[in-house]
């Protein structure tokens, strides 16, 4: 069809639908850099120092990267403010702990089971709450989160209540056991990278665009042919699945879990990671988790003042960078260019859309 408005005449007539953006070189550069840090630099530091403290921080960081990236999926990208994420983290942790200590199931079973059980709870929570909007949805997730915490705390027959569950076996795979510092870290890192990769594919795609459209204006997305309710439920289920996976990793790396690991404060901590990193920005969620785990540890020397320093840093970062350290728009552009996910090149070679 040939329809022109005046604007069209200003454009070069030869601007055909552009060829796919080819940025393999740069894509490799960034992917390699990230993999080199996760599987080269950090393991080298752990082996070099032999520090279990360092290994523990690295493992905690990886677990929180999964939590932050998954919360970003539902809250940042799809715009459903969840303040009960830690509860699904808890469900995953308890599922893995109970399945392995009571039924003796191996890690290869408990890991996906933890994710699926958390996702099932996520689905059941999502069904009735998806029609709630903004703050009302947040309050509903707060209520659910507290409920789950109270159940973990008081259902002593199953969860052992405040005593928690001890003796959870370490990560193992077909006879191989992650019983050294390095192997524990590596196992967690491999799984965390896989989780982030899946979230990356979901977010940085046209599926992700549909999720962002929900956040921007769900009625409008509805009239574009987007099944809004289904997409909202999907995003919540995906987020709770990965929270469950993170829970299983916590259970199998720390050998001991208790309800206090999954309090409301944890949900807020995860939310803070997402907001400080940049709502809707997956790279931001990763950076936010790094920042919020590593900073308090780096400030140990100043003793009791460190949490004040962390709070002040959060306050200032959000004051100075209200869209987060890596704002969504910047992050999407970065992923399009540097990970070769973008589709088209216009004028200066800027890719748009998704592959």
């Amino acid at each position: 069809m040939d329809v022109n408005v005046p604007d069209a005449r200003l454009m070069p007539a030869t601007l055909a639908p552009p060829a796919a953006f080819s940025g393999r070189g740069r894509r490799f550069a960034w992917t390699l850099l990230l993999l080199a840090v996760a599987f080269g630099a950090v393991p080298a530091a752990i082996v070099g120092t032999g520090s279990s403290y360092l290994a523990q921080i690295a493992i905690t960081t990886m677990i929180f990267v999964i939590l932050s990236a998954s919360l970003n999926h539902v809250t940042g990208t799809a715009g459903l403010l969840s303040i009960g994420h830690a509860a699904f983290y808890g469900i995953g942790a308890y599922a893995a702990a109970l399945l392995s200590t009571r039924l003796g199931l191996p890690f290869i079973v408990t890991l996906p089971a933890a994710g699926l059980i958390a996702a099932l709870f996520g689905f059941l929570v999502a069904l009735p709450t998806m029609r709630l909007v903004s703050i009302y949805f947040a309050v509903a997730t707060l209520g659910i989160g507290e409920m789950i915490y109270v159940v973990l705390l008081n259902w002593v027959d199953v969860t052992r209540g405040p005593m928690g569950i001890r003796g959870i076996p370490p990560i193992s795979l077909f006879g191989w056991q992650a019983d050294t510092l390095l192997s524990r870290y590596l196992a967690v890192a491999v799984i965390a990278v896989a989780c982030v990769w899946v979230l990356h594919r979901l977010t940085h795609s046209y599926y992700g665009n549909a999720l962002r459209a929900l956040r921007e204006d769900d009625q409008c997305a509805d009239s574009m042919g987007i099944n809004v309710e289904r997409l909202k439920i999907e995003s919540f289920v995906v987020a709770t699945f990965f929270a469950g996976i993170a829970g299983a990793l916590l259970a199998h790396t720390s050998a001991y879990i208790a309800p206090d690991n999954f309090r409301f404060m944890e949900s807020i901590l995860i939310l803070a990671m997402v907001v400080v990193g940049g709502l809707g920005s997956l790279p931001g969620a990763v950076v936010g988790a790094l920042f919020m785990i590593v900073l308090p540890e780096a400030l140990r020397d100043i003793g009791d003042y460190r949490m004040i320093a962390v709070g002040a840093t959060m306050f200032l970062s959000i004051l100075l960078l209200p869209k987060g350290m890596l704002a969504e728009g910047t992050a999407l552009g970065f992923v399009r260019r540097s990970f070769s996910r973008g589709w088209a090149t216009i004028a200066g070679g800027t890719p748009v859309g998704w592959k």
């Binding site: 069809m1 040939d2 329809v3 022109n4 408005v5 005046p6 604007d7 069209a8 005449r9 200003l10 454009m11 601007l15 639908p17 899946v198 594919r201 979901l202 795609s205 046209y206 599926y207 992700g208 665009n209 549909a210 962002r212 459209a213 921007e216 204006d217 009625q219 409008c220 997305a221 509805d222 009239s223 574009m224 042919g225 987007i226 099944n227 809004v228 999907e234 995906v238 809707g280 969504e328 728009g329 999407l332 552009g333 589709w343 088209a344 216009i346 004028a347 800027t350 748009v352 859309g353 998704w354 592959k355």
Partner: protein
Amino acid sequence: MSNTLLSIQGLTRRFGGLLAVSDVSATIAEGELVGLIGPNGAGKTTLFNLITGFTPPSDGTVTFDGQDVTGRKPWQIARMGMGRTFQNLRVFPNMTVFDNVSVGAVGAFGQSPWRALVNGGAHSRAVSERSWEALERVGLTAQAGDIAANLSYGKRKYLEIARALATAPRLLILDEPAAGLNDTETAELADFIRRLHAGGVTVLLVEHDMGLVMGSCSRVIVLASGRKIADGTPEAVQRDPAVLEAYLGVEDDAA
């Protein structure tokens, strides 16, 4: 007359005691450019919402492309080929121009999380190409990478139309597209809509402004106080006493 694309029969909507739309029947045939006008409060927006599925009717049916779509959800109706724009400009402000348009294409092609993970290449390419095409039709390809909120008001109007076009609509419903535009911009828009129609798109133009509708449409439906009071060529409608009364009022109006 070619095939009937949209047919509404006895459409009625009550809000409490208020009869917003009362027993309205009309049809739109494939290839038509029809205007729907009426003074403020005539029930245009309500009728619009009844057709697109946002409001369920109290009574009556909506038939689109031979199927009864009464009570279906907006996304289902949209997917059947009914595209729309909004009166009060509802672009996705924090998304790029291209991504805005892609949502329309995604709506039409469907999307699943699995396809984002594996084997989605062909699907994504189809969405990309459809979106680019829609941007070309409104002349916004140069702004493809810009954040939608940063576009001028007029360009955001065209962006909305492009997004609706990306759904590959069989019927495109434009809700007061001239609102907020000056005379020059309105004339450009009218020109654009006529060319869109000439290119084969069936258009229902809901307008407050008489000029745009009378100059562009082959048929005009007039709504007043929730009722259809006229349906015919612009010339016939303009001479219709009931229309003149609704728009200008008559001194000895007993009602």
